[in-house]
């Protein structure tokens, strides 16, 4: 398009400043994880790798990390099953209340986290406690799965819409039954969508703090809860900072995987 030179320069400057604002705070956390000063005076006068080794040996961090991984895997497993079932129902059938199902799936992520959190907390305490199930990892998985379903649902729905029903009909014509068609035809075609959705779901769960606060109970600490609990303790500041830096570095992994997955689908 024809843009005046001034507008072009201004837009380019806006882009560069915007990216700088996005990355400078993350960069500061990375540098501070090597900052020898415990109060993170800026600019750092000395650099040290001491905090990284301290954090690595910290039992609380390891336990919390492991809890987060378990919660993320559990929630993603539940969401994969529920999301795929719901997506099949909505995409392949016409029935009364179909739009409501889509809305229902989105609702847990559209409402403020604190509303979902206290609603589940209240329900768990009144329904599960008499059954002898206390707040813990199980309730965290239930809470996370509730808002993770939407990621799988959206991905599978989009894939099913694009696939159409022709391959499945061909499979049935060739004598495969419902389960065989799903196992040998539909599932392989869905795999990359499930992977992309599962990745997003795991990331959502791994990062979640508000619903977790209300569903975890006293004994269970996920990594975000650990960070939040230690954020205001000056003594723990260097370790919190190392954990934050490590999470920033790790956030490149899903981006890389997502690129790989979307690269796969292009070959489809």
């Amino acid at each position: 398009m024809t843009l005046s030179r001034g507008a072009r320069v201004a837009l380019r400057a806006g882009m560069i400043i915007g990216l700088a604002v996005i990355y400078v705070p993350l960069f500061v956390v990375l540098v501070n994880s090597f900052n020898a000063d415990k109060a993170f005076a800026w600019p750092p006068s000395h650099l040290t790798g001491h905090w990284w080794s301290t954090a690595w040996d910290n039992g609380g961090v390891r336990t919390a990390l492991w809890t987060s991984v378990k919660a993320g895997l559990g929630a993603t497993a539940v969401a994969l099953v529920l999301g795929t079932m719901a997506a099949f129902a909505v995409q392949r059938y016409r029935f009364f209340g179909r739009d409501t199902v889509s809305l229902l799936v989105i609702l847990p992520i559209a409402l403020p986290g604190i509303v979902t959190g206290i609603a589940l907390n209240n329900a768990f305490r009144t329904v599960l406690s008499p059954l002898g199930i206390q707040l813990g990892l199980f309730t965290v998985v239930v809470g996370h799965a509730t808002f993770c379903v939407v990621t799988i649902f959206n991905n599978v729905l989009a894939r099913l819409r694009r696939l159409g029903t022709r391959v499945e009909e061909a499979s049935a014509d060739l004598g495969a039954d419902t389960f065989q068609t799903f196992r040998y035809v539909t599932f392989p075609l869905l795999r990359s969508a499930l992977l992309a959705g599962g990745l997003l779901s795991f990331a959502l769960s791994f990062d979640e703090i508000i619903v977790t606060t209300f569903t975890a109970g006293a004994g269970v600490q996920t990594l975000p809860i650990w960070i939040f609990n230690n954020l205001f303790r000056p003594n723990q500041a260097p370790i919190v900072n190392v954990v934050a830096a490590a999470l920033i570095v790790l956030s490149v992994v899903p981006v890389y995987l997502a690129q790989r997955v979307s690269g796969d689908t292009r070959g489809l």
Partner: protein, 296 residues
Amino acid sequence: MSITATPGGPVRRLAGLLHRRPYLRLATLLSAPLLWLVVAYLGSLAALFAAAFWTTDDFTGEVVKQFNLDNFQELWSQTVYRTITVRSVGVAAAVTVIDAAVAFPMAFYMAKIASPRAQRWLVIAVLTPLWASYLVKAYAWRIMFSGSGVLSWILDPFGIHGPGYGLPATITTLAYLWLPYMILPIYAGLERLPNSLLDAAGDLGARTFRTFRTVIWPVAVPAVIAGSIFTFSLSLGDYITVKIVGGKSQLIGNVVYDNIGAADNLPFAAAVATIPVVIMVIYLVAVRRTGALDNL
């Protein structure tokens, strides 16, 4: 062939039954998701909002299950809650406006000026921080705003003191957190706008500003509104960021949180929690008329 199910086996018979009865198939598919989302989730929400009409006995701390409007009356009559509501809406609105102002030039550059190769990299560059943890980003700004942090280091030589922790820090951090949610819809909307339209506007004599006003803006508005749903609703329910960088400031989320934790007054917390939900429903209904929801 590796397919082993024998004709007439129980699995095969079940498959045949499902094949003949589409409604049975549909019912099976819907059973688990609906059991989870309707019974467990909607049930919990309903129970919560029912609790908003109950009260807590001041002496025993027990919930009194008797319908009344005391909680809502208190919310209405105490000015402190009105102030906090107005403040929360103000913060959410400020975050949305800042994000729109920052995101628009970036999205425009990505969609219309950058080369296709640069475009791909810019999308990745904007998306990557989305995967970085929410807490880590809030923490990063806590470090930025701290007394010996980067902002003071930059501002002090000019004789200006950094704002420290408070509402400005909260707005900055929230705007930072939700910025990608605003860039992506605008980028997607502008990318759909054909370049030929912009060229045509130029050929017909429109200058940059007029092209912007008459061609780009009408296409961009639904996209901006779609982004604003995220920035607005995510800011409205937040209480973690304000705890990390907000100093002593309180938003609606904090009132809910404090009533659950320290005060152990679930009915009142439930009543307070209806405020952001009602505001969001009003916002969504208003927005639906612009057609922005189709842009999500």
